[in-house]
Amino acid sequence: MTIMTIVQTTAASIGRLGLAAAAFGRPTVGRAGGPGAGGRSAETATGARLSMSDSLYELLVNAAIATGWLSERRTLYGRSLGKDAKVMVTAKDVLVAATVVTGAAALVGKVAARRESPADWLVSEEEPSPDGAVDAGGDGGYVQTMTKLNRTFALLGVAATPFINFALFDSYHPHPLRSFFSLW
């Protein structure tokens, strides 16, 4: 395994992890959860710090998705792809681009809403209203829509990956000569 291959594989892995993180939300590893967790006042007190780290996290996730996929598609196009594989790669291009754009839009919306009314934002972020029409001058609805779109595109991006893999696998011939002779 060459260094180039390791770099390419690592970049693709980071991109896939980013896409999974965007699709399924931020992991809460350190928390045991359960009904005993947290009071509102304490949550609000740490809210600002958490929001900042949330923004950074989302920024990193989007950067990981974009760079990971760009690196992966470069590796894929390094080979002459068949028509079916090309179609699937293009479809994933669209989905990844949409994920990054909606992720960035949601992030910008969150930052703008937080600047306009930090107190309202903290409450709405902790307890989003079910109809999605809350708070901070209507920004909550926009942010929620963008977040939902972001998750949907990320999920579709994750779901599109096996189609590329199986399109490649369909023309996977590791030992063509040996296979040819084994036919006789």
Partner: protein
């Protein structure tokens, strides 16, 4: 979902073509990650149920989700167990996702589209 999806995928990979050694190793490595993820997931669920039974009110946690200092020894043990299981589960799931490109790039290395190669296999 992860285990089910991988079970189908690895069955397809292993049965439809004769894999080369490197690809087979990559598939086996992902097998391990997925098995680890499934087992730790089951262990997390089981530990969660135990916590629910032992502590119907839930573990005494602070706002950050950490155990409060006045928690009992039993509570601390359950909390530690649950946290470790969750971390292991995340690590195995991340490993399974992260190892996938290795399988894919191994397949890509022997990707030979075109009618001529189809005739060979």
């Amino acid at each position: 979902m992860l285990a089910g999806g991988w079970l189908i995928e690895q069955h397809t990979l292993r049965t439809q073509r004769h894999l080369d050694q490197a690809t087979d190793d990559a598939v086996s490595l992902k097998d391990l990650a997925v098995i680890g993820s499934a087992l730790t997931n089951i262990a997390t669920i089981a530990a969660g149920q135990l916590v629910k039974r032992e502590f119907p009110q839930g573990l005494p946690l602070d706002a950050e989700g950490n155990l409060t200092s006045d928690a009992s020894r039993r509570g601390k043990r359950y909390y530690r167990c649950l946290t470790v299981m969750k971390m292991l589960n995340r690590a195995f799931a991340a490993g399974a996702i992260g190892l996938t490109p290795r399988v894919n790039f191994n397949i890509l290395r022997d990707y030979r589209p075109g009618t001529i190669f189809r005739l060979f296999t």
